[in-house]
Symmetry: D2
Subunit: 332 residues, 4 copies
Amino acid sequence: MAALGRNIKRSAFSMQILLKYEGRRALSGSSSLRSGKVGFIGLGNMGGHMARNLIKKGYPLVVYDVSNDLTNSLKESGASVAGSPAEVASEAKNVVTMLPESSHVQQVYTADNGIFSTVQNGTLLMDCSTIDPTVSQAMSKIAQDKGSAFVDAPVSGGVNAARDALLTFMVGGTEANYNAASEYLSCMGKNVVHCGDVGTGQAAKICNNMLLGISMIGTSETMNLGMKLGLDPKMLAKILNMSSGRCWSSEVYNPCPGVLEGVPSSNDYKGGFGTALMTKDLGLAQNAATAMKSPTPMGSLAHQIYRTMTNHGFGGKDFSSAFLFLQEPKKK
Amino acid sequence: MAALGRNIKRSAFSMQILLKYEGRRALSGSSSLRSGKVGFIGLGNMGGHMARNLIKKGYPLVVYDVSNDLTNSLKESGASVAGSPAEVASEAKNVVTMLPESSHVQQVYTADNGIFSTVQNGTLLMDCSTIDPTVSQAMSKIAQDKGSAFVDAPVSGGVNAARDALLTFMVGGTEANYNAASEYLSCMGKNVVHCGDVGTGQAAKICNNMLLGISMIGTSETMNLGMKLGLDPKMLAKILNMSSGRCWSSEVYNPCPGVLEGVPSSNDYKGGFGTALMTKDLGLAQNAATAMKSPTPMGSLAHQIYRTMTNHGFGGKDFSSAFLFLQEPKKK
Amino acid sequence: MAALGRNIKRSAFSMQILLKYEGRRALSGSSSLRSGKVGFIGLGNMGGHMARNLIKKGYPLVVYDVSNDLTNSLKESGASVAGSPAEVASEAKNVVTMLPESSHVQQVYTADNGIFSTVQNGTLLMDCSTIDPTVSQAMSKIAQDKGSAFVDAPVSGGVNAARDALLTFMVGGTEANYNAASEYLSCMGKNVVHCGDVGTGQAAKICNNMLLGISMIGTSETMNLGMKLGLDPKMLAKILNMSSGRCWSSEVYNPCPGVLEGVPSSNDYKGGFGTALMTKDLGLAQNAATAMKSPTPMGSLAHQIYRTMTNHGFGGKDFSSAFLFLQEPKKK
Amino acid sequence: MAALGRNIKRSAFSMQILLKYEGRRALSGSSSLRSGKVGFIGLGNMGGHMARNLIKKGYPLVVYDVSNDLTNSLKESGASVAGSPAEVASEAKNVVTMLPESSHVQQVYTADNGIFSTVQNGTLLMDCSTIDPTVSQAMSKIAQDKGSAFVDAPVSGGVNAARDALLTFMVGGTEANYNAASEYLSCMGKNVVHCGDVGTGQAAKICNNMLLGISMIGTSETMNLGMKLGLDPKMLAKILNMSSGRCWSSEVYNPCPGVLEGVPSSNDYKGGFGTALMTKDLGLAQNAATAMKSPTPMGSLAHQIYRTMTNHGFGGKDFSSAFLFLQEPKKK
């Protein structure tokens, strides 16, 4: 991890949201590109939608998942099914992976029947999982040794954004690999942002989620305090949102039931982004901060609070249920 | 304080930004209103500008401050100078106070030569200080006993907003008193928001500043961590601002030098809102939260961090210097 | 509160555990001292036992409580019952008060039928409640104005220590008043410590409880973590207690069930010192720290955790239930 | 790491402080045991003293360190010097390692010229470094594959305890390996405690240091607050130490200058246990807690505070300088 901070040039990063890529695709012509199979490993809530969007855009898919139900479902959508990650890698020169945690990524790439056991020269590996950036870097190193290329490309946006191809991808890798990956990622999302070298996609993702996790608890305790001090919650939200307390959590995703419609807090904290997942992301942020020797007092406390919430049965509720967790229970 | 939460009706609050008032002034006619003197006590960085804006709008002023320099300056602008708060209250039936802390407010209102020693029947007292809401409520109680009226009306916006009459006032008081106060407050600001009964202006103010204080430290540690992970700071800010980590502190007032122009972080953290003042406001929030039995883990930690910063010489720097305080020092 | 830090001489404090007093009583003769009635106000779990211990030592008592049940019970033990604090103060020149919170103390001393309405010249007022030290100082000021004397004398030790006259009293007041108070306090406890001027008894009490509150949560999370890492809890406790992690909470009052016998953790967290009371004491510590501008990051977080525990139904359990609150729930 | 919690039997741990071993040594006779060379790698502040104590007890030593100065110094004490860890392992069947961090341990054991490149069948490897318990477990796994044995045996006690052979060793490994290691460890310390399987020595060490790190900051802020409230520091320490706030940090190692003699706080925070090292240990605790999904709010905040202290120049001072870091600077 220490290498991450030291080795990366910090100057030339820029946000190239598809512009450059769009030009490139126009030149090279889309039909020829779509002749080769695309591999897809990890067909869960997010991955299933993402794979279907690639099919919709005309790519032939070869897929793998440990769940037969999930592979069967993709088979009905027109994908061919492989028996292992190795088989996917032997059939496709562009492979997308979408897996829950670092350990799954290590398994899928490095196990005996993993991607690296059969990966072809010139293959492009695109990992969309949210994992430890040092694992991304380790995978990239092995990929290079085998003559293939690797980018980390974690996503922002939930299940609905995955379904509607509205995800944002934060990509870490060389500029050439970023450009090559954009062809596929742009079929599954609306923004494909180049963040820097391998690992920086993960870095951007965990930074965003750390600040989000902090702001959400901050908004929750502010709303709770204001209401106990006699303020109407809708009014308090309006004052915050016209003032310097404004944040995404107060404005777009307010955790107090009844302030906004169509958000988890107004639907008993169902749907949305589960507290257990937020806890996992803040754990990645803490590991990175410890390795980087960077103090993150608020991120660290937020991690502990979501962890405690998970222990108290909030793991499956949206993370905005921090409002509920901190609230004084109603007197009966 | 306990009474605050219990006694206030929470339903009928609404944001009445001058609309109703504008109508009222049109009816009653402005010339007759301006025949009576307005009192102004507390002529510091903020109060001085505010008093001058009342003069500009045509109100004759009688002023008081412990500093002769400050009263002389207002005298040159056309105000008459009183020898004590009591003298102000004996000459004016509308009095504005703008003082640093709860203790000054108690002194100016209740001391032997304080406002309450001479206050007239029907006087309207408008306190624009940011103080403990229970002190506002105590002052209001005494005012009522003496046949006068009190509103708390703390401001949002800094010295420039005070100079340019662009402040936002958050007003706690009865609807009638809010309407009456709006005549004067609207001369000094662009928004005059009715928050509820006496004390709720203070409540709204400390809620906003608590969330602001949390978000600023959160943004600071996120920017620091991202940079150590190899991200360019301008790029990281852009990613945050197009994602769910977005907040006023990341977007409008970014604490990392060089990300935005014209903010304190790009001017050696000079100007802006001092860390010592933020510490004071978060102390008020903590006192309120303790009295209300409302948990505020992030607000509480933010308070402690700003307190520690103040002890380490950051009290006079803008509070966005949290970025600097948390940063690993550069190797020489 | 600011005055507290500034005005008190810090040099001459010493621990005078009854030695000096014992001599004094010997000289003056105990029988004559016991001719006057002692007043006692507040006959709850602690106060009831304390009052009975004074009776046992031969003092005639005049008592008051809002609860008739409690006063009747003391009547059976030989006390006479007064109709108000004022009546107590008119009959007794030495008065002990033992009340739940600052507001009750203010009420009992300053209300229309309060102690100060009838207090006699030369009366000694001993307040054993745990309250805000600034309230102690305010009561002392009024007492002085009325020709009487006041000491704050909060206790350490629980209901059993109260019953067995084994309490520790931390006394704030002049040396003369401390000596005079020791006669009565020593009948109810084994240690009577002179901490300094009025308010320092409270200061010592809240300092001790803040550190206790921190250590207990620290011990709880350490025991939880060690067990998840595969350590036997009794063994982990032994290692801590022979090492630098040792504290009262690990050694005498271990929060992990089964490590020690006869402590609340081995009795379903019943008995002991309730989480709600610890929350109250840490609230007093936070108010004092904010007023003193003294950073207390761990004390502040501990306060928030106990507050959250109280909201989640742990208020009536012993505060060592922090272990339970932080524990991952057992899989079923 | 997950395996650690699951696989270890929690029941049969017991503290077997040399008793069993003493018997064994008596039987086997010490002279024959001492015929074989003992390897020692890592001759820093701690390791140098430890190696010399083995020489004093009659063991022939073969040593390695990257610093020639350190190896030369041991040569003068009678050790033979090897050119690499591999050379040590080819000459000795009992090897002790004492290294700063996880990465050094991995390097010394697994590099091309590392211990595992030449380790003999039946060799006993004893790692006294404080590192991530999962690294200990990984080293043990490789050792097993090579027919050798591994124990983790981190130490408690500082440089003086190392010099005087008064360390405590917390040993993780099978009972047989613990017994075998005790022969050597007991020459360097007074307590050799069996904690359980491989990794539990590290677990016990980081648990102890986490609670120590928490208590020290807790004591520091309590002493600071008490002094601002007017209490004499020596007196406050006495009250804490006779009450429930008592802990090793208040009693044996008080962070307030002048309360105790012969501790770092009374020597400008020189000597003792550096803040940077405490930060490192709390980082290990955080990594373990995140992996174990065990909430540690106080340990987490303590980690952040020591990290911030290190950034502010306290890294080389004793960790009790938390008192200084949190203190309001003296007015000049």
